[in-house]
Subunit: 413 residues, 2 copies
């Protein structure tokens, strides 16, 4: 089973927006056994949209469009496709009422601008948009089928995942491509490649891709098989081998987030967490609280960006003067103070030089010290992370989470 994708937006062609939607659509459909065989991107222009959809239907009979469904006047996909099918637009009171109610709950009032969002080409299936205002549309006719989704990524993803993929997957045949990701952190790509080199030689029909990012290197295994069961079995065996080889560097699978893995490990062991953050400025807390339900484990902590707040937390003036804010002694005092003051099982402290200024020969930009305190004492570590200010902070937050995870696992062992 295959379809063509038409993405609509002048921004995409001017290059002001990177087309991440297409990658999401490609992956989500491939996982369900549906191949995107062509993608066409056209500007916000009714003629161009109509022509692209018509040509795609002519070739493939099934077309998915993204973009051009919002309330502003540069949104025109619905009109272009309705015209192509010769369908009048009909106002749906129920869509309007629901929209009005939702806005009312947020203390806002719908304007005339939004009226068009309740208009639907006659006979089209309406896909309810719980993530935004413009519903998705599924139009069927002599020309074939067009599924229209908004271009806003959260709305497109929600509708695709919950409304489109299940309907198409039910129709798709048996040939599937599946992939599984083994997520690693705290180990450089080249070291990783050396360590799994012999496993890689023995992969057989699978492919292995190294995907390095700020939070570590993802290893993606991909299998093209005749059945989901066969694909899953092959992938499972290969992923298990990689994980056994990589020890605690392999912290999860697929979309697993290290913060969520850590929180779960703590919950199982009845442990609580606090942080004291200097150079990360709240990023470790942000990562932890991004996970729903984190409040059962994470109590909070302090952002001690200025030295005055490190003193306020409980770092002795003498330590800051003698060793500096970026030192083993300071992170030890920060971690210990945070743990005692906030009454948690474990506390992490982070202090470093994120740059671009503030580096020296002894402590270059990228130098970050970590302290992990629990009932047994404080353990420290330090790294010099590469990259920009943003990169250094992201890598430091990820390492803080890995250090907490190691501490949590050994505490509970």
């Amino acid at each position: 089973m295959h379809l063509e994708l038409v993405t609509i937006g002048t921004e995409l062609l001017l290059g002001f927006t990177v087309d991440t939607n297409s990658a999401f659509v490609g992956q989500a459909l491939a996982a369900a056994g549906i191949r995107v065989i062509r993608r066409t991107s056209v500007p916000d222009d009714a003629g161009a949209v109509r022509e692209a959809v018509r040509d795609a239907l002519g070739r493939s009979r099934l077309v998915l469009t993204t973009g051009g469904l919002g309330p502003t006047r540069d949104d025109l996909s619905k009109h272009a496709v309705s015209e192509l099918y010769g369908l009048p637009l009909e106002f749906h009171q129920d869509i309007w009422d629901e929209l009005a109610e939702r806005w009312a709950r947020m203390g806002r009032k719908l304007g005339e601008r939004n009226r068009g969002q309740a208009e639907v080409p006659r006979g089209a299936l309406v896909l309810k948009n719980r993530w935004g205002t413009a519903p998705g549309l599924w139009i069927t006719g002599d020309l074939g089928e067009v599924i229209m989704l908004p271009g806003v990524p959260t709305e497109m993803k929600g509708l695709l995942t919950h409304e489109v993929v299940p309907r198409l997957a039910a129709r798709a045949g048996a040939s599937v491509v599946r992939s599984r990701v083994v997520r690693t952190t705290g180990i450089p790509e080249s070291t990783l490649a050396e360590r799994v080199s012999d496993l890689e030689d023995a992969l057989g029909p699978l492919t292995l891709a190294y995907l390095p990012g700020l939070e570590g290197v993802d290893l993606r295994l991909t299998a093209w098989e005749t059945s989901p069961g066969a694909a899953d079995a092959t992938l499972e065996a290969a992923a298990g081998n990689l994980e056994a080889r990589l020890g605690d560097h392999a912290y999860g699978r697929d979309e697993d987030d290290l913060a969520a893995v850590l929180l779960e490990a703590c919950r199982e062991r009845g442990l609580t967490l606090a942080v004291a953050e200097s150079c990360t400025g709240g990023l470790v807390g942000t990562r932890l609280t991004e996970v729903p339900g984190s409040s059962a484990v994470f109590v909070g902590g302090m952002i001690c960006y200025a030295d005055a707040l490190k003193r306020e937390l409980g770092v002795p003036e003498r330590i800051l003067l003698e060793h500096g804010a970026v030192s083993a002694e300071t992170v030890t005092a920060m971690a210990r103070a945070a743990r005692e003051r906030f009454g948690t099982s474990i506390a992490a402290a982070v202090s470093g030089i994120a740059g671009p200024d503030g580096g020296s020969v002894e402590k270059p930009v990228g130098t970050v010290w970590f302290g992990f305190a629990d009932a047994r004492g404080v353990e420290t570590a330090h790294y010099v992370f590469p990259g920009s200010r943003h990169d250094i902070r992201a890598r430091a937050a990820q390492f803080a989470l890995l250090g907490l995870l190691r501490r949590a696992k050994s505490a509970g062992a």
Copy 2:
């Protein structure tokens, strides 16, 4: 002047690779006055490539392709296009010699597999690739022109910038496209559209695009003009009109970040900042400390995710019991305590229900209270933000920054 882009690669359609090449091409060509009017992406399949290039030539006479020129894919694109033009491939000894020499310098030997990279369709212009092995090709014939570049980003960018853009720009004449973004926040897209509706009608040759995101709506103005000076003047006038209409909702231009704008406003006025974050869990601190040099203004603060830490900060038990953690009373006490304890000019407090659980009829998921304390007292505000947990937190952090900016400006006024 315009062209069509054809990007070649199965991984693009499967979504394993995000198509950042297209964005680069769009921007680089637009800056030189050349519009990409359509982009087609096809898999590594000779028939699909031939058909896509043929159709694109039929519409536009000028086509740029990326991908399918490397040694591993058997020069699929080159064969497909040569066949389309009816041109034989000819072996170029000079390309081969240069390739062999380069490889020898790296201590490697060319294999038979690389021989195809020295083959060129008869009469094609060879674009020397200093960034890799496969040269670019520029084929001219009755069907029109095809410019073929490799898909590896560094090679594609090098060839496009140094070999393609100068040749096309020379033909494009004086026409340039420039754009300017007015960044807004705290105002929904449809309200924004109504408020600037009359300005939009009077835009003349400019186009206006609404780009909604979690941090607000960007308004992108684009001008196609005969000179950079003319474009800048038109854009400046239109951007100024939008800003005058939108007041403090328009906080910056282009890549401006609200956190950076806030920090600069504070620096000018000698103000310092602290935060007390509950549902954002450190995200406001993260936004502020992402900006280099933020330590001159931002001292840090507390992540009071658990109520115990709100009490530790200084929120009376009675307030938490009587009004709950998500209330005007609690954020007032949080903001006041943070300001006093950390000794800053202004402090912001954020407490809300980010979901997915924890909502009620009175306080649905998305409800967030804000407190802003300065020497004059505490001001509060609350919103019900739409979207996922991630969205709600991102919107809340952005609103906290906007509230701080308003407070900073009025303090200094």
